[in-house]
Amino acid sequence: MRYYILYLRKCPGVKNPRHFKIGIAALDKVRTRLASYQNAVGPVYLEEFMYFWIGEDVDVKEAEKKVKLNFKSKISSAEAGLSEWICEIDKQEILDYIEELKTEHFIKLEDSPAEFTPMSMNNCQDFSEWFEETI
């Protein structure tokens, strides 16, 4: 059994975003994943996971599948690089659905600690260390 995070991103540099990417990463790969996104935008912008949730592999993978299914009509293309972007949506709708997954679908997800939200290259190492101590 491994721990994962389910994360929500926005397009880099966009104020009041309407498009969001849902994704998952194993806890020991979170830093590498964030670094890939950071590498794509370079030093002009600080990439971040706006929100994230922590859970066991089965729960996080199921949650990701359900989010993509629930918002299928808002995913504009199955093309690589676009298939995980939920478009033209208020982020609260996604957050509400994830809450529903926890309370009504019994998918066990823990909200990220406030001090690590959002998570960026600046605090991801601290988060990993915190998690190692907490688990």
């Binding site: 059994m1 397009c11 880099p12 540099g13 966009v14 104020k15 030093p43 002009v44 912008y45 600080l46 066991e56 089965v58 729960d59 199921e62 299914l69 293309s77 199955a78 093309e79 690589a80 529903e100 009504e104 679908h105 019994f106 998918i107 066990k108 290259m121 600046n122």
Partner: protein, 380 residues
């Protein structure tokens, strides 16, 4: 690292170059579906014809519309529709052939299986025959079957004098000697046999078999469907929504469990579906959980003489959902992992999960006596 003023810039779409094949396909499918009031799934693996048919008052889909759908997925065909009249090609020809003019050349036929003949004989109906295919041997004049040998056998045992046959003949002309033409024909027959029986074979899946059986009025399938309906579930090719069942093999596996006291099938399937829907009302029905719970009910009744009451469902549902695992999907995955961790390898899933469920209740439950588990291993 500091945030820069890039945040303030408006992001403009940059993807104005060549449209990818995936995007082109999506556009074709979107345009095609715009013709229909009731939308339906269009994937590489299947187009949902049952839902598509709901767009037609008679429920009959014209051939052309299915072709348009296929073209939307695959792209334009190499030949325009209705541009070739195959009747002018003279291949194949159709004829009723006298049984004594039919033969088998084992070069391009597999061995005949008496047990398969027996199997077809039981279900054989004269108006349900699929026409066998043959080549006409230019040397002997016999019609040599490359497809339908078992059908031929059944027809002959049924006393038929003639067999309907699609056949092709050798081309013998200035360029091809009799020997060469025969060789070409035999190669064609061999390739055809393999294409029909191996390369091009698409077996009927369990979902299609169930739906066809239900809609054509097969007794058992209708009974299974009624149990599914009564529990607010639906049979689907792929499960995505609450109450969807896609594991048809386990559905029938659970249905087939007979209640010893009454000799009736389906009781445990019904109980199991109710348990799943009451415990995880927002989740699709996990096939292995459905089967394992049905087995738990059956084994317990067989060994204790009592069908577990609804109070058991409430207590056990809370143990699985609230105390230990959460979602149904996680229950069977974790039970399999615990079995594998204890024994070093995984056993048959129904045994592993049923045992795991029994063991879990024995550990955490308080009120009811259950069957002995088929396998014993440490559970959470």
């Amino acid at each position: 690292m500091a945030k820069s003023n890039v945040m303030a810039l408006a992001v403009v779409p940059t993807m104005k170059t060549k449209v990818s094949k995936t995007k082109q396909k999506e556009q074709r499918i979107k345009n095609f579906l715009n013709n229909y009031a009731i939308s339906f799934d269009m994937e590489d693996a299947y187009i949902d014809l049952r839902t598509m048919a709901q767009n037609y008052p008679t429920g009959i889909i014209p051939s052309k519309d299915i072709t348009d759908g296929i073209n939307a997925v695959l792209g334009a065909p190499s030949m325009p529709r209705l541009s070739v009249d195959p009747r002018k090609l003279n291949i194949p020809e159709f004829a009723w052939i006298a049984m004594d003019d039919i033969g088998i050349n084992p070069i391009f036929q597999r061995d005949i299986a008496p047990n398969h003949v027996a199997k077809i004989e039981v279900i054989f109906q004269a108006d349900m025959i699929i026409v066998p295919c043959a080549i006409k041997d230019p040397v002997t004049g016999k019609f040599l079957l490359w497809d339908g040998n078992h059908t031929r056998q059944v027809c002959e045992r049924m006393g038929w004098t003639h067999l309907p046959v699609w056949f092709t003949e050798a081309v013998i002309d200035d360029e091809h000697s009799l020997e060469e033409a025969t060789k070409i024909l035999i190669l064609k027959a061999g390739k055809s046999f393999l294409t029909i029986n191996k390369t091009g074979k698409r077996p009927c899946g369990n979902y299609d078999a169930h739906m066809i059986s239900v809609e054509c009025g097969d007794n058992e399938a209708v009974t299974v469907q009624r149990i599914v309906d009564a529990n607010n579930c639906q049979v689907k090719r792929a499960s995505t929504k609450e109450g969807d069942i896609s594991h048809i093999e386990h559905l029938y596996g659970a249905y087939d469990l007979v209640q010893a006291s009454s000799g009736i099938k389906g009781i445990y399937l019904s109980r199991s579906l109710k348990f799943h829907r009451d415990t995880w009302p927002k989740e699709e029905v996990r096939g292995i959980m459905m089967l394992a719970m049905a087995r738990l009910y059956q084994q317990t009744e067989m060994q204790t003489g009592k069908l577990l009451p609804p109070a058991f469902d409430t207590e056990f549902g809370d143990i699985l959902k609230k105390k230990l695992y959460g979602q149904s999907e996680k229950v069977h995955i974790r039970l399999k992992e615990q079995f594998e961790s204890h024994f070093g390898s995984l056993g048959a899933h129904p045994v592993v999960v049923t045992s795991g469920l029994v063991l879990t209740y024995l550990k955490h439950g308080t009120k009811f006596k259950l069957a002995q588990p088929e396998a014993t291993y440490p559970v959470k």
